[in-house]
């Protein structure tokens, strides 16, 4: 409150201290923030999960599911049928099975016009059946979805999940307790099918218009409350992995995640998070390391913003959803069979059926270091705050220093009254820097990035003329644009570089913008913000113009590598190495290059079809900030304060 009342603030002792020691403070805050975040993985610093919503009544009734025998029949029938359609979906078989169960069965067609390349059209068809709840008037619904994978698919097959879905449907149909319609959905083309189905259900287009034509659908079942996506790869299940990360890092309500884990443990099905069992170590360090790796696995998936299962597309529509991926049992021990999995599903849907209100009680923002531990938003935000605080402090210190410089420059004879002095200093500061060139430069940087954001389709078209493939065209286009962008400082410096203060102001703007970007992103996708902060905060802070030639070159090299495009390449290569650790370097580099080429196209296409934010955020928000710092680097440092700079 001192700031409110004391006009003399900013020249006090505290600020003096801040100006003098801000670098040390920033380093301290950064290390503190990172350590704080890392320590959160330890069980002493996070909390055990619990049910917030009492209406779920998880697992209170005894499971009654007993259709496991029919599931086996369905499976063998489906495998025979699937063999006839190596690339398609056995629609007629699916429709017939659903009809036999006396369910309202519908199909849904959709068309994708591929936004890049030659603009090819792809069609798909989803099959879904609605079990009309006897106890309600179709105001609410639950979804059980399975992605259909033809035998030619590169992903592991999901025939067992369709078998169990049909068996469960058969069982559910005979029950009289349903108060919410249950929709059984079989989708084609992985996430595309689900996205199209959801868009058609809500009659909206999420991505760019004209890309995914969601088509029309006949039957609906009211507001969807929750969805379970099932991907079982085998009849004998070793463990079920619960996947939660959705599009743009959105997560389902923690109650639903807990519910799945609870039902699995009730039926004795081994359940994991991130395919990692909860470790049981006596050594606190190994225990922490285990949790931390799980936590970082989640952070990495969430940061990408790409859903790791079909559940991820439901979240946008306010539908809580998770994927249950079942892996084949290998080795000794008793596997979970259709019987157990069916009971898990029965328990899940009966609990969801109990819900009176939509999921709202528990957390929507959390991180999981283990299947049964969670870190709430209140716990994980402060570390990021600490990390980002460095940027703000640096900006503040620069501002104060600037003010000080300007007051110091005042001739000493101006001592008559305080009022005059402050007036003069005000005049001075207005004289010394003008916001116009700074503003113009910032605007220019942002405009360039907007151009880049809207260019992929044009680049693609241009590439086609020159006979380039889409990824090459995009890379070439962006590379050229980046080169052009690096020239921007030449023009910008001429404008800003007039006064020392303008440069300083420019640096402050860049720092503050980075802090704002990171904190705003953290509201949407914490993991993305965290990873970016860990990388960009120290580098951003280092981007201070120096006199030292070598240092300047090093700075520039570092900053070039932090260009979003380069970063993408580095991350993809790193990821490839991690995924295939056994491959030789040659094979790896080839795979890596292929992945790199695809990655950019995927990012663009995802943003067009699913409205994934990663590409827009990187190009329209992160990139201009990158340019700002790049311009800062090309500013010559203060000649007057050479000694002080070197001290820093």
């Amino acid at each position: 409150m001192g700031l409110l009342t004391d006009p003399g603030a900013g020249h006090g002792r505290l600020t003096q201290l801040l100006v003098t020691y801000h670098n040390k403070l920033i380093i301290l805050l950064y290390i503190g923030g990172v350590l704080w975040f890392m320590i959160l993985a330890h069980k002493h610093f996070n909390a055990g999960t619990y049910f917030s919503e009492n209406a779920l009544l998880p697992g209170l009734v005894k499971g009654e599911f007993d259709e496991d025998a029919i599931a086996k029949v369905y499976q063998s029938e489906l495998l025979d049928e699937a063999a006839k359609y190596p690339n398609g979906v056995p629609y007629s078989w699916l429709i017939a099975k659903f009809r036999q169960l006396n369910l309202d069965t519908y199909t849904h067609n959709f068309t994708l016009t591929y936004p890049l390349g030659l603009g090819n059209k792809f069609t798909g068809k989803n099959v879904y059946a609605i079990l009309r709840a006897p106890r309600s008037s179709s105001t609410e619904a639950l979804v059980l979805s399975v992605p259909y994978r033809p035998p030619s698919s590169v992903n592991p097959g999901t025939a067992p999940s369709i078998a169990i879905m049909l068996a469960v449907a058969k069982f559910f149909r005979r029950q009289k307790y349903w108060a919410k319609d249950v929709i059984f959905l079989v989708t084609e083309h992985e996430q595309l099918g689900v996205q199209a189905w959801l868009e058609a259900y809500h009659k909206v287009t999420c991505g760019r218009s004209g890309v995914l034509d969601h088509g029309d659908m006949m039957g609906r079942g009211g507001a969807i409350q929750a969805a379970i996506n099932l991907e079982l790869h085998a009849e004998k299940i070793g463990h079920i992995d619960v996947k939660i990360e959705g599009l743009n890092g959105q997560l389902p309500n923690l109650d639903l995640v807990n519910l799945v884990h609870r039902m699995c443990s009730k039926e004795g099905v081994k359940h994991t998070f991130k395919n990692r069992e909860s470790g049981n170590y006596r050594d606190w360090y190994r225990e922490w390391l285990h949790s931390f790796k799980t936590l970082m696995a989640m952070v990495a998936t969430q940061a990408s913003g790409v859903p790791n299962g079909n559940h991820g597309l439901f979240h946008r529509f306010g539908i809580e959803a998770v994927t249950l991926e079942g892996f084949e049992k290998k080795g000794k021990g008793s596997p979970a069979l259709y019987f157990q999995v069916g009971r898990v599903l029965e328990g899940l849907f009966r609990s969801l059926n109990n819900l009176l209100e939509r999921f709202h009680q528990s957390y929507f923002f959390y991180l999981l270091p283990a299947a049964d531990r969670f870190i709430s938003i209140g716990m994980y935000m402060p570390p990021l705050g600490l990390i980002c605080a460095g940027l703000v402090i640096k900006a503040f210190a620069l501002w104060l220093k600037m003010q000080e410089d300007s007051t110091k420059k005042q001739p000493a004879e101006n001592e008559d009254t305080e009022e005059d002095k402050s007036k003069l200093s005000n005049q001075d500061s207005t004289n010394n820097f003008s916001l116009v060139p700074v503003g113009v430069t910032v605007l220019a940087a942002h405009s360039v990035s907007i151009v880049m954001l809207s260019s992929p389709q044009k680049l693609n078209a241009l590439g086609l003329k020159f006979g380039l493939s889409t990824p090459l065209a995009l890379y070439a286009g962006y590379f050229i644009m980046t080169l052009l962008m690096s020239i921007l400082p030449l023009f910008a410096c001429r404008h800003i570089g007039r006064t020392v203060e303008s440069r300083s102001i420019f640096n402050i703007v860049a720092l503050l913008e980075l802090a704002t970007i990171l904190l705003c992103t953290s509201m949407q996708n914490f993991s993305l913000a965290l990873l970016s902060a860990v990388v960009y905060v120290p580098s951003g802070l280092l981007m201070v113009p120096t006199q030292n030639r070598i240092l300047t070159i090093l700075q520039k090299i570092l900053w070039v590598f932090l260009h979003p495009l380069w970063l993408l390449i580095i991350v993809v290569l790193f990821h490839t190495t991690l995924t295939f650790p056994d491959e030789s370097v040659l094979v790896l580099s080839e795979m890596g290059m292929r992945a790199v080429l695809k990655a950019l196209v995927f990012a663009v296409v995802d943003s067009y079809i699913y409205a994934n934010w990663l590409f827009p955020v990187a190009t329209a928000i992160l990139l201009p900030n990158w340019i700002l710092f790049w311009i800062v680097l090309h500013n010559s440092p203060y000649q007057e304060k050479k000694e002080e700079k070197n001290e820093d």
Binding site: P7, R13, S136, S137, R173, V204, G222, A223, E357, E418
Partner: protein, 575 residues
């Protein structure tokens, strides 16, 4: 002594009984049950209890009661009601699979009434009528008032009118409570309105334990004036108490489609109501002609072939009075072979309604109306939107088969927060064999915090829209003709048009709902902020700020120094 008293009471009772029956009867009671296996594998059971009360003049209405329920008659007489329709429904009638019901009813409670033209204050009378009926039926009809009632101009014109004079819809009120949950507490008072209560007759079949295990359940009370002759010189009052049930044989049956009275109602029939003039059970055997057939046991005494609007149907008729039931009586239908559910043949006209959009910025309501007829069909569409969902009329778009069409007529009265719902009635001509989408946008608004229900995150209900049409064909049609009162009057009743009033789904929308633990947090936060800001603000506003040469370099220390100085000066002064 006591025995003599009993005897005299008994004799006087007998006397009374005979004296009542000796009075020239001016009312009749009929009880009927229609069982209809639906193509989807469900069984539709429809009970209708009809009381017709012939009166000499309007002045003697609702004075001396015989079979007509006095509890209802008094309310109706007191509130000047001419025509009254109430339905309490659980579940949704699936037109697409089940065809048309005898009485259309929207999920939840639905009520509409015409008042006599000498009624002074219709809104007040309506509210009071709803309150009185709420007590009678144990339903929350008392929450009906002007803020959720409409007076539609076209939709309710057609049924139940005795006079052909121009009607003034200002005497009509219509309201729905889509959230109303219907259960046995509504059934019991409803049964008490019957002359035989639930002690004898078809009403003994209505056991809450069984009839609430259905997919659809609709109680109805329909009161209307009817003409006694073709000139309409004399008017009678007709009261129909209806109960529609749809049983799902997949849930009920153990692997087969067989149904029987005992299976459906848990009890056999012990006989007819002695007060009833007619006590019939009809079983629709039309489906026997196609697909798997069933045999009735005992075999029906009579079979009626009915031709209606170009469609033939067959009914097995059991006259309960003539059966001479001794003990319990059961009718069972056995299928000779398991039924296969073929391709569904939807009725001529049906509709779906759903909410579009996501998030809580803006949304839309789409009503899809399917017209399967070979020729264009005129329909009236009545939208029923509560006041808390602001509609935008300019966004109303009606698209038939991809082409936008203009409505024939449009009536719109915008809603007003807390006082009036949105009223939109549109007359349309649906093209032949078309799917028409009626699309309108709305906004999500915040309500006052007391206006949220206890389970705020459940969502808010939007009542069903009504689509009224006169169908030229009688396919899937089971409704009674305008001039008929009993189910038997619907046999061979070919008319120019068959009135359907399709009710769409009720919708549930999630309004922006505050976190209801928030007020506490807000109070805490607000108090803290006020406490922190008050001091400095008070200082700033009451003290004058003057810049002063500090002399010393250090702010804090110099301040302290000056304070010390001042205190020491004071001390000096004191000393």
């Amino acid at each position: 002594m006591r025995g003599a008293l009993y005897a005299s009471v008994f004799i006087s009772f007998i006397h009374l009984f005979f004296s009542v029956t000796c009075v020239p009867q001016n009312d009749y009671f009929d009880e009927e049950l229609l069982l209809k296996p639906l193509p989807s594998g469900h069984v539709f059971a429809y009970f209708q209890f009809t009381t017709i009360w012939d009166l000499e003049s309007e002045a003697t209405f609702y004075q001396h009661y015989h079979l007509f329920p006095r509890a209802l008659g008094e309310i109706v007489g007191w509130y000047n009601v001419q025509e009254l329709h109430i339905s309490l429904t659980a579940g949704l009638w699936r037109y697409e699979h089940w065809g048309y019901p005898v009485h259309d009813a929207a999920p939840g409670a639905e009520m509409w009434a015409w008042f006599k033209e000498d009624t002074k204050n219709v809104d007040t009378t309506w509210r009071e009528l709803a309150g009185a009926l709420s007590g009678l039926l144990c339903a929350s009809l008392n929450s009906i008032d002007a803020s959720n009632s409409l007076n539609p101009e076209f939709t309710f014109q057609l049924p139940g009118r005795v006079s052909s004079r121009a009607v003034n819809s200002s005497y009509l009120r219509y309201a729905t409570l889509p959230r109303e949950i219907v259960c046995t507490e509504n059934l019991t008072p409803w049964k008490k309105l019957l002359p035989c209560d639930a002690k004898k007759g078809l009403s003994t079949l209505l056991n809450a334990g069984h009839i609430y295990n259905t997919n659809y359940h609709s109680l109805g009370i329909h009161l209307r004036p009817v003409c006694r002759d073709s000139n309409c010189s004399q008017i009678s009052v007709e009261l129909r108490q209806t109960l529609s049930l749809v049983y799902d044989m997949v849930i009920l049956g153990i692997g087969n489609q067989d149904f029987s009275i005992k299976k459906l109602f848990g009890i056999g029939l012990s006989g007819a109501c002695p007060l009833a003039t007619m006590s019939n059970i009809y079983i629709d055997t039309t489906l026997n002609e196609t697909g798997a057939s069933f045999k009735l046991s005992p075999p029906p005494p009579a079979v009626i072939a009915s031709s209606r609007g170009g469609y033939e149907s067959k009914f097995a008729v059991y006259d309960v009075k003539a059966l001479g039931i001794d003990g319990m009586f059961n009718i069972a239908a056995f299928y000779s072979s398991p039924r296969v559910h073929g391709v569904n043949l939807p009725p001529v006209l049906y509709a779906n309604r759903y909410i579009i959009g996501y998030g809580q910025e803006y949304g839309g309501i789409v009503t899809k109306v399917y017209n399967g007829l070979w020729k264009p069909l005129d329909v009236v569409y009545l939208e029923n939107i509560p006041w808390f969902i602001p509609l935008y009329l300019h966004t109303l778009k009606i698209v038939a088969n991809g082409k936008e069409i203009k409505p024939l007529l449009k009536r719109y009265i915008p809603g007003k927060a807390r006082t009036r719902p949105y009223y939109l009635e549109v007359a349309l001509r649906l093209p032949a064999r078309s799917t028409t989408e009626i699309y309108i946008e709305f906004d999500y608004v915040f309500l006052k915090w007391q206006e949220y229900p206890p389970d705020a995150n459940h969502g808010f209900y939007i009542g069903a829209a009504i689509i009224t049409a006169l169908l030229p064909v009688g396919r899937n049609y089971t409704g009674l003709p305008q001039d008929g009162s009993t189910i038997s009057s619907s046999f061979n009743a070919s008319r120019d048009g068959y009135l359907v009033q399709i009710r769409t789904e009720t919708l549930i929308i999630t309004m922006p709902t505050p976190d209801f633990s928030m007020p506490y947090n807000v109070i805490c936060l607000a108090c803290t902020v006020v406490a922190l800001a008050f001091g400095p603000l008070h200082n700033m506003t009451t003290k004058r700020l003057r810049l002063k040469d500090e002399g010393g370099q250090n702010h804090l220390i110099s301040l302290l120094k000056s304070a010390f100085k001042r205190s020491s000066e004071k001390k000096e002064k004191r000393s």
